[in-house]
């Protein structure tokens, strides 16, 4: 079996399931190394596929002014460079996140400093929207969780004011 990227013999066989769809890929040792396959913690087969839909050409010139990461860098290495990158590359990132994760809204821990930093109202709004969406999707488990989060947040904000 030949490597997906070069002509060498493939020795690394990768299977990943994203949103219930199975993706398979065969790589040689050196391509696997290069693509970071040896570190499965951070692996996404999406970044390895040549034939994935390319982003519109307008995004090709995207560059993060803060750290210098280009859209090309991100496509090649799958890594972003700094906090600001997440604003710059948001349009190309969001469609990817959908297939990568269980959802696109953070439902976990909120660092206390960030609560001070951003207004509580802002995230209340985001939670309310997410809650509404979860209800529409009839994902009640998620909705219940969001509702609890919202309650907690409202309690926090009333405690601080």
């Amino acid at each position: 079996m030949k490597c997906h990227h070069c002509e060498s013999q493939a020795t690394v066989h990768l299977t990943q399931i994203i949103n219930g769809q199975m993706h398979k890929m065969d790589l040689c040792e050196s391509c696997a190394q290069e693509k970071g396959v040896t570190n499965p913690d951070n692996l996404s087969i999406g970044s390895l596929l040549d034939n994935q839909p390319k982003f519109e050409s307008s995004s090709a010139s995207m560059t993060c002014e803060s750290c210098g990461t280009t859209h090309q860098d991100f496509k090649k290495g799958g890594r972003l460079g700094c906090e600001a990158c997440y604003h710059v590359f948001r349009p190309v990132l969001e469609p990817l996140l959908d297939g990568m994760h269980a959802g696109i809204n953070h439902l976990g821990k909120i660092p206390s400093r960030s609560v001070e930093r951003k207004t509580v109202l802002e995230s209340e709004d985001a939670l309310r929207k997410a809650l509404q969406k979860a209800v529409e999707e009839e994902n009640y488990e998620k909705a219940a969780e969001l509702r609890d989060r919202l309650k907690k947040l409202q309690a926090q904000s009333s405690a601080t004011t």
Binding site: C82, E83, A102, S112
Partner: protein, 357 residues
């Protein structure tokens, strides 16, 4: 059928340490707001991150009794040993500059600095116990966060160099010993079934379904869109199902072809007692059977603990540690064999009629 079993819930059971699960780990990825992530940072910025983090970590209550080390100060062998003990990642061990690690004295917590992210907070414990491990990781993280400004976004959560870690930044994993599923050739089915649930399985020492020693690391793949506790609960349900499948596979092996199993175990005993040259992967496979024999009651309990200790000590770095210097692979095989012969010298005959308790 396998697939169905993984969807069934076994809620209400208290998480108990069980011999099938070797250890539980929770890892949190965090970055500082004002610096580029390590992959993009200039050398000076990485240095600044390292000193800022080490200074902050010193003051964190959960790390009161700990040691902090800059990777530059460590020899290649020292680094390898930390990797084999799962205290630092392979990636950090290969870092060229400004890598650091803070290890609590009881080795339950380790915080890596300038790995793929500025901070990788890790808590380890024996057996299967997400509740305890998450509680400690959460508290450690809050302690650090009170001293450092994290990169955080209301929608995307904790910002990480790789988008696969976004949100909670949490990767929770359990190391499991699954010889029954491997021997009965059911491991592929299990991997397939749990992959559908967003859970990853990989061999700890080697890839695929025939990892040496039959030890697998099972972890969540997704980090965004669910709370930490929701991720852990989902993982817990899956793990309990895997434990159940493993138990059934073992029973079936014993029932269907017990003599072959006993023969295998007995040969492993023979090899460990009589080897003169042995590679780590072969040693791992024999140790796996010793562990299984202890689980069946064929060998006294203490041999499970011995097997667990030897799983680490047969690794290349640890063999060289016992030699006191870096040595070539051939010499390692000899020294490894010598250690195993000594450790297993007094192993009793298998007790094939164990008292069931």
């Amino acid at each position: 059928m396998f697939h169905d079993l993984f969807f069934s819930k076994t809620k209400g059971k208290a998480p108990k340490p069980c011999p099938i699960a070797l250890s539980t780990r929770v890892r949190l990825a965090r970055n500082l707001r004002e610096f580029p992530f390590p992959g993009r940072a200039q050398s000076g910025q990485k240095k600044a991150v390292l000193s800022k983090c080490l200074e902050a970590l010193e003051k964190v209550t959960d790390l009161k009794t700990s040691t902090s080390v800059e990777l530059d100060e460590l020899s290649e062998l020292d680094r390898q040993i930390l990797v084999e003990r799962h205290l630092i990642s392979l990636e950090l061990s290969q870092s060229d500059e400004s890598g650091g690690v803070v290890l609590s004295d009881d080795r339950s917590c380790s915080v890596m600095v300038n790995e793929e992210d500025h901070l990788r907070i890790q808590v380890l414990s024996n057996g299967l116990d997400f509740e305890k491990v998450w509680k400690l990781a959460d508290s450690l993280d809050s302690g650090i966060e009170s001293k450092l400004d994290y990169a955080f976004d209301q929608q995307l959560g904790f910002l990480t160099a790789c988008p696969t870690n976004l949100g909670t930044g949490m990767r929770a994993s359990v190391m499991m010993h699954l010889p029954g599923l491997v021997m009965s050739k059911n491991m592929d089915k299990v991997i397939n079934a749990v992959n559908h649930l967003g859970i990853a399985v990989r061999g700890l020492f080697g890839e695929g379904s025939d990892a040496s020693g039959s030890i697998f690391q099972i972890s969540n793949q997704q980090t965004l869109g669910e709370s930490e506790t929701a991720i852990l609960e989902r993982l817990q349900v899956t793990l309990e199902n895997i434990v159940h499948q493993e138990r059934m596979a073992r029973e079936k092996l014993l029932e269907d072809d017990g003599m072959r199993l006993v023969d295998k175990i007995s040969r492993a005993v023979g090899s460990l007692k009589n080897c003169y040259l042995i590679q780590s992967s072969e040693a791992m496979d024999h140790l796996s059977l010793i562990r299984l024999a202890a689980d069946f009651g064929f060998l006294p309990e203490k041999f499970r603990a011995l097997a667990d200790r030897m799983f680490i000590e047969v690794q290349p770095g640890h063999v060289q540690l016992s030699a006191g210097k870096p040595i070539e692979p051939g010499e390692r095989d000899q020294l490894r064999a010598e250690t195993l012969r000594k450790e297993f010298l007094r192993m009793p005959q298998l007790n094939l009629d164990p008292q069931v308790d």
